[in-house]
Point group: D3
Chain length 322, copies 6
């Protein structure tokens, strides 16, 4: 069943999240620090038995120079630097297995799939740790360090996402003028953030992006991971202001407001994990041109392979045909 | 938690299903009829935008000559007839989308993925109907036509599976001496059946195969799809003998007894959909040599991509290096 | 809790389903074909041990002349042709056991209870198969053949329902001028359809009728069987138009618009299986006079035996006292 | 799935409940008191509109002379005193509606259906209160007054059940030499008790009887109503001895040991409400001859109408043909 | 997620419950009868091993003079009569264990915690029975005797609550001019009732009070214990008027209208057991001054220890500092 | 229902966990490092409004000298150094609120309740962070740093537990010769560890202790938190040996083997969170004298306040009367 406002109401929906006055300064400072702690990307070939795709194990400098892992998949025998897709993954997962997720390289792109720090044990495997933990937390990362925007988990993860673009653009097999970011759910939220913050991004695909209009999303769904925030506030009853302040700095609506790049979104009207109103709030705030795929009968899986197929078309249009 | 006998008990476990005296006659007659109703395979290229894989839409003659669909995925520019994998899919799904499931062709195989008649609406899409329905049924196909082995749904589907091998071996891009069958869950059950019944199969991969030792499986799990049989018998209380008789003709243990080809199985000790005892019963009955991967902490997802990686190695050993 | 609009909003609610221009032609053609394939009703006495009721096993020609079964229960020793009730049953069930459902014959009516093709294994037993399957489907019959209104399951079942009235009126123990139709849930939907399409129906009882205002119902409940349609569209994402077009031809609101006969409805405000808004849409569209029982604290069981008692009174008024 | 021991183990299973030394004295004293407080049965005709069955609203003196209600249904126009069935109902329900439950009178029996004190609000309606409450309790009646066998709810209800037989045998339309008792679940437990305690009972039908071998049943199922006892003991942690002592006086196994009359039982191997081991313990303890129907694929609904059909045959054999 | 109206709507929300014309007469008569049946409070010291708190086992005369138990906890060595808190407990529980709930006496108050008749087996232990049962009921006490306001369970329990205040004020260690009542959920409802009905109450704390605006609450939540009323009406379909009439006499909104004492309430916007609209209806109807704590991210646990801390401050203000 | 072996089997049950050869060295080294990083305890009075108990906010040096918080509650006006209880809390919680948990100080003990690093957001509040995170993890702390025993979360938490005893014994209000440790679930596991590792502990209370015989516990329950380990191994399929090796160093059975102090345990036979077999394995391995309370009808709440009451008696025996 529909899980949020009616489709007509959603079309004009704007979120309730505030836009902090020092948002841009916060992120400029954060990224400057991360870049100051950077070091050169490491790339190692992986033996997979695949005959049409080459896979590389990539390590790059993320937040505070922490090592972050990724897979780079390339069509075998690509002669020149390729148009490149940087992918972020959904909550709980990691970069997975080299043999998974072959679509993007099979379609002719260089494909960098970033691991997610401190997750990677839910629905796909990861290897990257999260050294920055502070304070009490609800199981999961949604409330890790949430008492202050400087210690918050997503400050670190979003920085990783931006630095993944930086890293990709230094690789010889990547055409640094033709890079796009994409992801689903948490991956979509990171793509929005990277689209707003990372230099050199040409296009963004954010499928059912998570972390949008968080103050409303937290009170209109009971499902995890938004539920983690509710659970935290149910125990830390005096922390509401502090927590909502921190969250404003990672809200997808605030990144959308600053994202000049063309973006393709999707939304699912029966999604009970990422309430549709948050996605519409981001779409309606987006600074650049947008496309939106509306899936009326889907939950959080949204368009699935149909979203991917349309994303391929959109990305080819912006990176290859453009 | 563990869902069945202890690992030590499982190792020697043999099932309780009986082996009907006319089992071989039944299947010989069924396949002879199906072949008599056959017609030439149809193959149409599909436009996908992929640069390293070609996809074809295949239609072949299944049970009673009913048209059955499949995808054929090929590494682009394969010069010669290739070693070939015929894949069957799990309960509820269909052949899916051309852009899905690129692993096997990316690894250098021709890959024929058969659609499942009358399913294809659960977790992946299908287009093939099942024209042979008869009698009352529980939602799902487990009890469709179950009152008689001649009208039973799985008689038709297993025949499709055998005929898919027949069809593949007539194609110019397929090396008919190097064909293997594989699948997971229902797909694993069909692979066992095709491994026993289809001429020209060199190896079998049956991951957490469904439909094994059905009389026990039905009373040791409450989960669908085995549950459908229980639900039927809970209403049709006088049909137990009739139903168990029908089911003996499609039980994976009976196919394993007749399968001379080498087979790789997997089993998951926390699987509540396919009870591990059924898998062990099949492995312990298998006529040819077997390998078994035991996943102690997994449910029905079993080894997932790790099962696939090992399957690739096993299949390469039997089809390429052999 | 209330599962739909407030009671005040419901009172004026009209559905969103469209009324196809060729609706009447479609059904006229369908029924003409079915009658052309007809053959005489078969009636066999059943030995039950009951002392006050006689039961007969009836077989009549349904859609495409397919054999459809029913029970006919009669007060023992009825001297003359009786006022007659034709009953249709709810989703998943069948005509059940001869010893069940003795109320209507104990109240002095001839009572023909039609079996439901291809169901009859959920909460009561059936024996009638559904030979017309086509295309992929979700477990259950809601999406069977849904790609085209000609192949759709409910085209066949509604035709059976109309033909059951035709069949009853040919029997010597039935007074063909005093026939009513009734049912609950799916049975209520069939009663509405038969009330609109079958000649000779004097009155209709549709208790919490299913299949009304389907486009809205599908998006306001998660429960089966409406859920089957949502699940189909969640996978067959491009089929929305096709599916909604098919469904308009079986929507109870469109039958209500054409039903001139007096009808008694019931609705339950806590029903999460048949959303109350669909029932109100049908009541408010009904062409003939209507009564509506509103059950404020019930779910889909609605008025239960109280609905039956009131139905008896209503039916006696229209068939006996009238 | 099977919910208890294997079928082979069940066949020889004996329960763990103890047989208190003063069991017979306890019940003899209880019944003597109840009879001393008795008064004549009241019988009022009910207007139902049924043409083949007459229904009467009966009030008789139960425990401590408390008024207990029942329906008496009779085939219309019975010339002589009839063989009679006294029925007790399952947990939570009451005697229901006069128009329900017409099978037994339609089959030629006088049929007295006793209401259950203080229940009658779950799945069928009742009107009889339970004036004897004492002490703290878990919602439901399982722990009402359980601290002492004299205040325990089931002391009162079982007395009602015996007094219902007494009452029936005083009615002119009842042949006092041909009375049987029957029921399902709680009703089966009451039938066993009445079969052991009430003079003049010729046969007993106990379908999936509840309250058998309670000490084991409470620790092998989590389902209500046995769960109520567990919940009570989880809070009243020092009450185990007291509670188990009380329960021994109402345990079906202890009544079975004393029941000389022929009995038909049923058991369901997938029953998670009444564990099968309790039923087997009662059957194996039964003093008189027994029949047992084993339903392998059913839960607590057990044989349903098939159990009823067989019960009719059994009861006709003992009350009519004998 | 939020479970009821938006916070803005709640602020002005008034309930739908009616205020019976004879409400005051009903309660005046009820209490007069109870007082007529009264007898002197009994107080027995309990040996607990505590060094700073003395505990007494109190028995007082409740409804109809029935004995009702309570714990009285006192700071050890209190020289003079103390300001006193009378506490009522939530649904299902009892007065618990002497070693529990030490906060209030540790803060310097005399603390009388009343047991709840016929409950005391759910989440804490009780010992008090409910001798007044009548009529059929749903498991639990919500529908016990609900057919008539004179036999209704809550008439008895509310009378107990008022009589607990009467009893406390007769004790030598209690300062009868400084008594407050408090409780959570059902305990909050009893506190509101005692605040309106009991002479000598100085202040009221009602945390997420249950039983407010019952006609609406019953239709906007599915959770127990409100669910018991719905379940009763779902079976006793003709009893709606009777039941709603009875409930108006115990509705917290009607007590709030009559409560002149200052009150502190709390409400939780994610409460699905006590819908927030009922609490706001009571707050907005309250005759005396009110404070309301709004917990945005909590369910029925509401403010927990934070509610207690604020309650201590409020009670100290009214009983000690005032 | 019973969740594990029968009570008779449990009585002799020994676990399957191995005892690593360098277990003692590992912990000796770990504690030496922690003590080397230590600094003096900080103690600040807290204003609570309580009249009989003083509360202090304590900060001490835990693992690696990380600051760990605790509450110290003291009977007001204690003249001399007191017998002291160090308490550890259950999974997910923290030290809670100063006004909670007043039993132990009310009974005359000094009571130090340690906060749990990186938890404190589930059922009670905490403030202590966990700075040592490494590697991918499942939400929760069970798999944090599990790839190596040196980085594992419980190495840090157990060190905190030992250091809490060290810290307590330096305080002037604590009699360092009369210190005991206690806790429930995770708190019980920490108590066992501290009982084995911390100098100066006189007695141990471990109520339904968690983390005992982990290799078996993980495969006999599906419930969290053991489930986190299963979920990790279900994704990190190659990590079984590594993970089980790490876990052996924190297994309660290995601490019990080394604990010479008298210990009181409790176990609940219906516990599905901490399987009873693990508790019995620890009891049966315990080096010192033991008492065991067996709760037959409880889940993980076990004896609740009854366990506490008995613990008080046991602790008074060992710390006061001894």
């Amino acid at each position: 069943m529909y899980t949020d406002l009616s489709e007509a109401q959603l079309r004009d929906h704007r979120g309730v999240v505030t836009d902090p006055g020092d948002f841009d300064d916060f992120w400029a400072g954060t990224l400057a620090e991360a870049r100051a702690a950077g070091w050169p990307v490491r790339v190692e070939p992986v033996s997979t038995g695949l005959t049409s795709i080459d896979v590389f194990d990539v390590t790059f400098a993320g937040f505070a120079g922490h090592p972050v892992r990724a897979w780079l998949r390339m069509p075998r025998g690509a002669g020149a630097a390729l148009p490149t897709l940087v992918q972020y993954v959904g909550y709980g997962g990691g970069r997975g297995h080299p043999l998974e997720n072959l679509l993007w390289a099979s379609a002719g792109f260089a494909h960098l799939q970033m691991d997610t720090r401190g997750q990677g044990s839910g629905w796909s495997r990861g290897v990257t740790g999260d050294p920055g933990v502070a304070g009490p937390e609800v199981p999961g990362v949604m409330t890790r360090g949430i008492a202050d925007r400087h210690t918050y988990y997503y400050r670190r993860l979003i920085t990783d996402a931006v630095r993944a673009v930086d890293a990709a653009r230094t690789l010889p097999m990547v055409d640094p003028t033709r890079v796009a970011v994409f992801g689903q759910s948490q991956g979509g939220a990171l793509a929005l953030a990277a689209g707003a913050l990372a230099p050199g991004v040409r296009a963004v695909v954010a499928l059912v992006p998570f972390l949008c209009d968080i103050p409303r999303s937290v009170v209109v769904t009971d499902a995890r991971p938004f539920r983690e925030i509710r659970d935290y506030l149910a125990i830390h009853r005096d922390a509401e202001d502090q927590v909502l302040t921190t969250l404003a700095y990672v809200d997808g609506v605030n990144f959308a407001r600053r994202c000049q790049r063309p973006a393709r979104y999707s939304v699912a009207l029966m999604d009970d994990i990422v309430p549709p109103s948050g996605v519409y709030a981001a779409v309606n705030a987006h600074a650049g041109p947008t496309e939106l795929a509306v899936w009326r009968y889907n939950g959080h899986e949204a368009g699935g392979i149909d979203d991917d197929e349309a994303a391929l078309r959109f990305l080819r249009g912006h990176l290859v045909d453009d």
